[in-house]
Chain length 72, copies 2
Amino acid sequence: MNNLVTFIKNRRKILGLTQQDLADKAGVGLRFVRELEQGKETLRMDKVNQVLALFGHELTPVDSKQIHVSDE
Amino acid sequence: MNNLVTFIKNRRKILGLTQQDLADKAGVGLRFVRELEQGKETLRMDKVNQVLALFGHELTPVDSKQIHVSDE
DNA sequence: CATATTTATACCTTATCGGGTATAAAGATA
DNA sequence: TATCTTTATACCCGATAAGGTATAAATATG
């Protein structure tokens, strides 16, 4: 499970949100949240950022070697 | 100009590649590279990662407050 | 166990991304 | 200046992402 998936799932759980809650708050469809949490890689960048924004985060280029299995 | 745009442009210049070169090496279309460098935010995540992979990088969720205007 | 909630899978439709191509504009070089 | 290279803009078309909905499976709760 990649970093993005792990990050989203953990954050959502921490806030006690359902996928539907997250979708509503982010302004994306429920299906999108599901595909996001299932690791679909062909998602649109802006939609992913829309969700990440809820957690004060955004997609950024990071050195592949420096990616620690973040669970926070 | 956002981080992604800055990153891509700088790296490409450092390696002395044209947009066409980068497109070819990454296996994406020339138009995609252009839209990427022009800050289009609706691009597909996998395609962006395809380009970033050439530089050993990948999209990762990062705290928005911790994003320094990276030019490397 | 039964029931309720949450998550996963499948189908259909619309919107648009991505590629290709052509043309124009901008930059560099002589 | 003229010429060459690189980058930007505009158009068409096929493929598919995203949303909605419905159903099924999984997980919790009693």
